[in-house]
Symmetry: C2
Amino acid sequence: MELKLAFIGFGNVARGFARILKDHQLQLATKYGLRWRTTGIATANHGCIVSTDGIDLLDAVACVERGENLSELPRSLSVSDPLSAVDSCNADILFETTPLNIADGEPATTHIRKALARGIHVITANKGPIAFAYSELKSLAETRGLSFRFEGTVMDGAPVFNLFEYCLPGVRVLGFSGVLNSTTNHLLSAAARGVAFADALAEAQRLGIAEADPRNDLEGHDAAAKATILANVLMDADLVPEDVTLEPIDERAAQAARAAAGNGDRVRPIIEIARRGTGVVASFGPRRLGPLDPLYAVDDFSMGLVYDTDLAGRVAVQLHDPHVDQVAYAILTDLLEISATMPRP
Amino acid sequence: MELKLAFIGFGNVARGFARILKDHQLQLATKYGLRWRTTGIATANHGCIVSTDGIDLLDAVACVERGENLSELPRSLSVSDPLSAVDSCNADILFETTPLNIADGEPATTHIRKALARGIHVITANKGPIAFAYSELKSLAETRGLSFRFEGTVMDGAPVFNLFEYCLPGVRVLGFSGVLNSTTNHLLSAAARGVAFADALAEAQRLGIAEADPRNDLEGHDAAAKATILANVLMDADLVPEDVTLEPIDERAAQAARAAAGNGDRVRPIIEIARRGTGVVASFGPRRLGPLDPLYAVDDFSMGLVYDTDLAGRVAVQLHDPHVDQVAYAILTDLLEISATMPRP
């Protein structure tokens, strides 16, 4: 069976995923019976197209990377916007990878809601819809018998939700601690090496690691979205990002990081989630760790998450030295999960 | 549907598992539809019994812990030995948890072979059969359409094989490094704290952490079995434990551990597995690690494994401060996997 795939958002992550799909096309077909055709791509700055015959993914990647409009591609039809693309792409699976909107998760949530309403399985790497609308979207997907997967939203391609679903059956998560925002972890790691905070931030912005407006990372909004997702999906909480107590990663935290390094410790940007009474509380801020802490060695762009559980004890997962392709890999794992549950000829 | 369960070996791990089954009986029935009856228990020193009506697991635990013979239990029939129990228990699933025989994996391999030949699914926490006879037993199970699972053989209840199978689809493992023998890791951790090697070993023996004959741990035979399992199961190698290059954890390694600790480093007992040419090579021995190494914080009885992969990057899994119940939990995850694939009424 051939799966019809559509993309909303065609940035670094989606294009990295497209390259994995093409590079491993034969292996994925042989080992997983995965055959696919691309029937829609919608972007903010490079047009929106649909195609019955199928869009050549590598041509689309090259087109966008040359800065051209996707309407240049053969055998494709331009449509006005992403929602029109969802309406007319006739896809089995939609990949939503538009940028995070930390204020309300839109328009990604609307894209996903529309796709599910049309009977399309959804995979997203966008934290917004999960942080703001998880329970609504989950229940919409369940009602329609559709898959709704988002492994890439927390810790790139390292397993977080799949780990819980497939490797920790029967456990109750008591809490989490994690280093999940790699921009601030990089800045505090640079501070530990003696780099001035303003210099490290400027350099990170120059390299595209930190955004021009770095507040989502520094003030903890990105971390709050991730903490909300973990709490709601894996601890049955009902938080919104505003519920997460935030302390900023700033000049003062950087000074603390430098001082800690002088004593062999590290200051890292830590998410903590715990059960309290009948509820769940979450926080984010700079925390000082000794070398025997599981998150001490999670340096620079690495990420790590510690699950405190009843039956399985304290299980830690880390991803060391990741690059963008690791989010793309997370999308592939979601695709293989969905593909495995679909009827075979 | 009610699953008929049988045990060969009823030591700490099996009894811990029995307690989890009883403590979580309602939750397992409600959430996973898991209903079960125990139809056989075979031990080396407390007799071997089978029962059509079902053996009360907690009564059996109490009986063994009082040092009595299982034949004291009501509605049970004594049989002569474990193989007779396999023949007459009429079980759906057998739990093999006899102690490791590092020389050849027997008699556990024979127990498992017999159970599979009789159409019984097998779950084991015993490294021997996997290190010495994985490919034979796997192929026997596949031929008969049976499950053969062994999550507890490496790193207790932390996911190793399930992680690969369910969370890292499509990846090729390039190599492993790991701290997987907690007895030697404890001894080197004690050395780092300034405890003399002989004293730490004697204390560990007194507490039952190290065996009276500690050579399996110190000379690396336990680690070699685990390295062989990882290489053969997850890297398609064809090693035997003798192929693993071993350096002992001894007085000299302990001195190195103490010296390293003085400089902020740690010496840990490290398994390394790598692809070389068309084959796979494996080694075990004391290695010095800096604080930013993913295995540095894997202290004392903790364990950790780093997967080097093509698509998913460098993924680390750790289990901090485990206790015996974590192996029991691994057996539960295997049971839930098998239960999920069995036909429902």
